[in-house]
Amino acid sequence: MTPPAAAELVCVGWRASEVERELPELRVLSCEVLTARSCLRPSPEPIRRQLAALSDRFNGAKAIALRGQAVPAAYRALSNAIGIDPDVVATPIEQAVFGRMFNGAFLSVNLIEDALLIALVDTAVAVAALDADLLTGQLGIRPAVAGERLRSAEPEPPLAGGELVLADGVDPLALLGVPVPRCAAPRRATRRLRLYALEFAGVSQLTVREALWIAASTLEAHR
């Protein structure tokens, strides 16, 4: 009997009551992936080829039609619901597509970035990665308390309070942004990754699970 793939063991994160009341569909889903080597190493050839194939598949016509599609539209709706103007801060898939059009291709960065990009382009759902060893407890979403600081290697300014943050059991880790910002980001020594993505109105749990599965299976295939 084969053990279940990492992405099949998806955890649904907690939410503060204010978040549950105001944004009832918003949840964070996460799964853990183990890697044997650094996930910041350059991507192997198959992933580069996959990115090239995605670049060919994602032409200008698709980029133009993107805004009318369900998941990108849902991301714009989420931006509006959390007070971010999607015309000022582009949604993750829009940013990726701008990059594709500007650079002429989806450029390879490293294994983890490429795995997340493949999941994003395939599903339009933004997946982010955290160093699981730096986390305490489950991930969740809550408003920040005034004076709190994001957990980071560099000193972060105190939060004003009320900002929506992704948090573990102890600290806020990142502002709940669109695109999803990184904090407690994977390091060279990281071997345990926690991938997370947001489920919300217009983006079903199935789509989010698929995005997590794509990212996790890409990483596991080249661990």
Binding site: E18, V19, N80, I82, G83, G162, L164
Partner: protein
């Protein structure tokens, strides 16, 4: 005595909750309106590409940290989107008029090319894809000019990189707008 007191307390709680519930309902309604307006705007922009400019963020509007949007924020966003949709609808209507005029002109050019000597009309202005230009030219060069043999030719080919750079500079200055009809006539040979 306890029953009336309980009733009063529950009434108070209900009274306090009512505005909060109403506010939540109002926010839900606003979010639905915003989603509908976004969809409408997207459909308009997709239908009018590449001639309709996408709305740009106002100067000085930076990114704000994510918060649960207040009723006022949602109303502002809804109003902004309504303005964008109206502006885009106006631009779309102007574009339709522009293309109708251009098509009428092209028809006239094809019927009586002699009246439109050396006129040029971009295919994009007629609503056709590509970089072609409908051009009224003399048949057989100077012979046609002297004999009055005029014809409408569709030239093709996309502009050189230098032209693309000039177009980018125009776009950076103020964004695309319905381009005026590209009409040219040589001095002295006017229509």
């Amino acid at each position: 005595m306890s029953e009336p007191l309980t009733a009063t307390r529950s009434e108070t709680v209900a009274a306090r909750r009512a505005p909060a519930d109403q506010q939540l309902a109002a926010k839900r309604s606003l979010k639905m309106q915003i989603a509908r307006l976004e969809a409408q705007l997207s459909a308009l922009l997709l239908a009018g590409l590449p001639h309709l400019p996408a709305p740009r963020a106002r100067e000085g509007t930076g990114s704000t940290p994510p918060r649960i949007a207040t009723l006022a924020q949602l109303e502002r966003r809804r109003d902004t989107l309504v303005a964008h949709v109206r502006h885009t609808q106006t631009a779309a209507a102007a574009r339709i008029d522009h293309e109708r005029e251009a098509r009428a002109l092209l028809r006239a050019m094809q019927l009586e090319p002699g009246r439109y000597k050396f006129f040029a009309l971009r295919a994009a202005d007629v609503g056709e894809a590509g970089c072609g230009v409908w051009h009224v030219r003399p048949r057989l060069g100077i012979v046609g000019m002297l004999a009055g043999w005029w014809q409408v030719k569709l030239s093709s080919g996309c502009p050189l990189a230098s032209a693309a750079a000039a177009a980018a500079a125009i776009w950076a200055r103020g964004g695309p707008s319905p381009a005026p009809l590209l009409l040219r006539s040589k001095p002295g040979l006017g229509c």
